[in-house]
Amino acid sequence: MNQSVALAVLVAFIISFSILSLGLFLYHYKLEDGTWVLSSDNILVKQRVFFSQKFPANQEKIFLIGSSQIWALNTIYMHEDLLKNNLNYTVYNLGVALDVPKVRMKTIDLIISAKPTVVVYGISDRDFATDSSSSDESQVNLLPSPHDIIQNWLGPQLANSPFDFNFLQSPKLNFLTMVGGLPGDNRFYANPDIYATLEQYNFPIANNTKLQIDYANFESILPLEKNENLIAFKKIISKLHENKIPVIIFVIPQERHRLEHLPDPNVFNLFLNNISQEYPDVPIYSLWDRYADMNIWEDRRHVVMNAKNTTRVYSDDIAKIITNYLSPNTIELDQSLSRWTFNDG
C-alpha cells in the first residue's frame, strides 16, 4: 500500500487538531509577563483567585453553592437577616452558570480548604440531567469491561499529568461563545460587596406572555444507579462530612409554567428520597413551587436578581432556613418551609 493516503489523513488530523488546540488555548490563556496564564475571565481562575484569598481570621462563613439559579440570593440581605438573630456570618454566593455536581466536584477541595461553617447547596432536577445517552440503561457488566479497565488506568494518568488539558474540554461550548452565538457566562458573585453595587440595576421581570413562550430544556434524567451527577453529588456530601462541614440542601424554586411542563416531576422526588435515605442527617428544604405564581421571575428557572427588594423573599427564606438550622429555637419555620419529606402517593 502506497502510504500517501495514510499520510494525508495523519497530516489532516495534525492540522485540524492544531487549529483546535491553538484556538482554544488562545481563548483560555493570555500572555502575562512572558508566561501563559489562564485568562482572568475564566471561571476556574475566578474561583481559584477567590479561594486563594486570606479570609479574615475567625470569620464565620456560609457558602452557597449551585448553578446560576442561586444568583438571586442576595448575600447582603442574608447577612442582615442572620444578624437580626445574632448570627454574625458572612455569606458568599458561589453560584456558577451551568453548574452540576460533576463540575462542582472539581472545586470541592478548594471549598473545603476555605473552611466554611456551613455549606448550603441548591439543587433542582437540572442538576441530575444528562447530556449523554446510555445505549442500554438496564445492562449490567457480568464480565470484565475493557472500557472500565482503560478508564481506570487512564483517569489517574491524566489527573497526575503535569499538563492541564482542561482547555480542550467542551470545544463546542467555547466555539459558540467565541462566535457569539451562545452567551458564555463567567459571572461569579462570590464577593458579597457585588450585591451592594447591583442596587443600581433594574433587572427586568418577565411578564406572563414571555414566560408562556419561554423554552426551558427538559434534559433526560438517567436512573439513580447510572446517574453520574448523583454519584458526584453524594461524593461532595461525603467529602464535606469527612471534613466536618455541615450541609443544608434546598430545592431551587421553579416558575409555574416550567412546573406545568415537566415530563415527570416524581423522578426528581425519587432522587431526593435517595439522598435523604443515604444522608438522614442532612436537612433538605424545598422551595420547589413556593414562588411559582409570584411576579419575580426573569425566566422559567431564574428568580430575578432584583436589587429593589422585590425578590427579597428568596433570600429571606434561605436565611430563615439557615437560622433555623444554626439556632433552632430562635425562629420557627412556617409549614411550607419545613423540611422536605418523601411522598410516594
Binding site: 493516503v5 494525508a8 489532516a12 487538531f17 483546535l20 442500554d136 474540554q169 427538559f218 411542563h261 415530563p263
Partner: protein, 490 residues
C-alpha cells in the same frame, strides 16, 4: 463501542495496522473475527454469548438444511432455525412489552394478579444480526447459496464489526463470497481472500467515514437538543413549532442513521468489503413506495424478500396485496422497538403504501398524468410525500401517548400562530443554521450524482483540504460526551 469515540478510532487503526503488517490469510480472517467479537464485547459484555449462540445455531442448521434429502425435512429444519432466531429476538426484545400489555388487560378486566417485569437488558444489535443469520438459512433453503465450509467465514459474516450493531443488513449470498478468492489457476476451489488495504479503498473508505462523522456529530447531535425542546413537553406548543420539530427530527434521524451507515460502509470499504447502500436521498422521494426504495434499503428489501413476498406479495388479489403491505409495515414498525409508538409508525407507513397502491390501481391515468412528469408535478409529489413522512416521524420520536396525540393534531390541524415560533427560532438560532446547512448540502448531493466518489477521486492536496474541513467541523461541534446512535436501540 460507539463509532464516534476515540476508542473506536484507536481500535480501527490497530486493526488496519495488523492487516498491513501480517499478510497470512488465515490469521487475517481469524483476527477479523476476534476483533469483531472484541468490538461487540466492548459494548455488550456477557451478551456476546447470544451472538455466538446465533452463529453456531444457524451454522449447523444451514448444513442440516443443505444435507436434508427432501423438501419436507428442509422446511422443518428451516422452521426450527427461524424459531430459534426469532425466539431469541422475541424473548429479549418483546417479553417485557408482552408482560406490560398482559398486566394492562389484567388490570382492565380486574384479574388481580400482575406479572412482574423481567427487566431484561436489550442486547445491542440483536435485531440486525438475527436478520443476517436468517438470510443465510433461508438462502440455503431456497437454493441461492451452499453452506460455507469454514465456520470462521460464517462467524465473520454474522459478527462483521462495521455492520454488527446497526446494519446495513447483509445478505449471506452477497457477503460470503467476498471472504474467498479463487486459488490461482484452478477452476474450482477457493481460499481465504487476503485482506489488502489499497490506496483507492483507503481513500473512498475514509471519505465515507468522514462524511458519516460529519452527519452524525455535526448535524444529528447538534439538532437533537432542539428536537428535545419541542417534543419532551409539547403540550402548549403551536403548530409551526411542532412542524419545525418534526422536520428537525427527520433530519436528525436521517443524519444519525445514514451517518452510521456511511462510517460502516467506509470501514468495510477500507478492508476491501462491499456493503449495500442503505440510503438514497429518501427526502427526495415522490411516493411512499419510492420512499421505501430509498430509506433503510437493506431493511425494506429484507422485509420485501422475507416477509412481503412469502405472504403473497402483489400476486394475490388487490385486497390481499394491501393487507400484505400493511402487515409487512406493521411488523417492520414492531421490529424497531417494543413500543406502541413504533407500531403506530409502521402502521402509518403501511396505510401510506396501501393507499398509494390503491390510488395507482384505481386511477392509472393519474399516475401517468403529464403534470407529474413536470418539475412542478415532481415538487408537488415530493411535498405531499414528505408531509406524510414527517408526520409519521412524530410517533417514532414521541413515546408519551398524550404528547403524541397533541403533536400529531397540531401537525395536521395547523393553528397558524407565529409569534411563539419566531421566538423559538430566535432562541435556537444555532440549530436552525445547522438545519439550513443540511438542506443546502442535501440539495447539492442530489444535484451532483456520485458526489462521494468524486470527492475521493480529487487530487490528494484538495482531498486533504476536504478532510481538514470535516475534522474541524467535527472537533468544534464536539461537546465532550458522545451521543449514541439512535438505531443502537433496535
Amino acid at each position: 463501542m460507539l463509532f464516534n469515540t476515540i476508542d473506536f478510532i484507536i481500535f480501527f487503526i490497530v486493526i488496519l495496522g495488523v492487516f498491513v503488517l501480517i499478510k497470512n490469510r488465515k490469521f487475517q480472517h481469524v483476527f477479523l473475527l476476534l476483533a469483531s467479537y472484541f468490538f461487540f464485547y466492548y459494548t455488550s459484555n456477557y451478551l456476546i454469548t447470544l451472538l455466538i449462540f446465533t452463529t453456531i445455531w444457524d451454522y449447523y442448521f444451514g448444513k442440516a438444511i443443505w444435507n436434508a434429502d427432501n423438501i419436507q425435512r428442509k422446511k422443518i429444519l428451516l422452521i426450527c432455525s427461524l424459531a430459534g432466531n426469532l425466539g431469541l429476538l422475541g424473548f429479549f426484545k418483546y417479553t417485557d412489552f408482552a408482560i406490560t400489555q398482559f398486566n394492562f388487560f389484567g388490570h382492565y378486566f380486574d384479574l388481580g394478579h400482575q406479572i412482574p417485569l423481567l427487566n431484561l437488558a436489550l442486547p445491542i444489535g440483536i435485531s440486525f444480526y438475527t436478520f443476517h443469520s436468517i438470510t443465510y438459512t433461508v438462502g440455503i433453503y431456497r437454493g441461492q447459496l451452499s453452506p460455507v465450509k469454514s465456520f470462521t467465514d460464517y462467524a465473520i459474516f454474522v459478527a462483521f464489526f462495521p455492520q454488527l450493531v446497526a446494519g446495513p443488513i447483509l445478505r449471506a449470498k452477497d457477503f460470503l463470497p467476498q471472504l474467498r478468492e479463487k486459488i490461482d489457476g484452478l477452476e474450482v476451489g477457493t481460499q481465504f481472500r487476503r485482506i489488502v488495504i489499497t490506496n483507492a479503498n483507503l481513500k473512498i473508505g475514509i471519505t465515507l467515514m468522514a462524511i458519516g462523522f460529519f452527519k452524525k456529530m455535526v448535524i444529528a447531535d447538534n439538532i437533537s437538543p432542539m428536537v428535545g425542546d419541542v417534543f419532551n413537553a409539547p403540550i402548549g406548543v403551536d403548530s409551526f413549532t411542532i412542524i419545525l420539530g418534526s422536520i428537525a427530527f427527520g433530519i436528525q434521524i436521517f443524519c444519525d442513521f445514514s451517518g452510521y451507515t456511511d462510517i460502516a460502509l467506509g470501514a468495510a470499504a477500507i478492508l476491501g468489503f462491499k456493503m449495500p447502500i442503505n440510503f438514497n436521498k429518501p427526502y427526495f422521494a415522490t411516493s411512499p413506495s419510492d420512499f421505501w426504495r430509498k430509506w433503510h434499503i437493506s431493511l425494506s428489501s429484507w422485509l420485501r424478500d422475507y416477509l412481503y413476498i412469502p405472504l403473497g406479495g402483489s400476486h394475490k388479489s388487490k385486497t390481499r396485496t394491501y393487507l400484505n403491505l400493511f402487515i409487512t409495515m406493521f411488523l417492520g414498525g414492531l421490529w424497531h422497538g417494543a413500543s406502541w409508538n413504533f407500531v403506530l409508525w409502521g402502521i402509518l407507513h403501511g396505510v401510506y403504501l396501501a393507499s398509494h397502491k390503491f390510488i395507482v390501481d384505481k386511477f392509472p391515468l393519474l399516475g401517468n398524468a403529464k403534470f407529474f412528469k413536470t418539475k412542478l408535478g415532481w415538487l408537488v409529489s415530493l411535498l405531499i410525500t414528505q408531509y406524510f413522512v414527517f408526520l409519521a416521524w412524530i410517533p417514532f420520536r414521541v413515546q408519551n401517548v398524550d404528547f403524541m396525540k397533541y403533536s400529531m393534531m397540531k401537525y395536521v390541524l395547523v393553528d397558524f400562530h407565529t409569534s411563539s415560533t419566531l421566538n423559538f427560532i430566535l432562541s435556537h438560532r444555532f440549530h436552525i443554521v445547522i438545519m439550513v446547512g443540511f438542506v443546502i448540502l442535501h440539495i447539492i448531493s442530489y444535484k451532483i450524482p456520485h458526489l462521494r466518489e468524486r470527492i475521493s477521486n480529487v487530487k490528494l492536496r484538495y482531498w486533504l483540504v476536504f478532510l481538514v474541513g470535516i475534522m474541524l467541523c467535527v472537533f468544534f461541534s464536539y461537546e465532550g460526551n458522545p451521543e449514541a446512535f439512535l438505531y443502537f436501540k433496535f
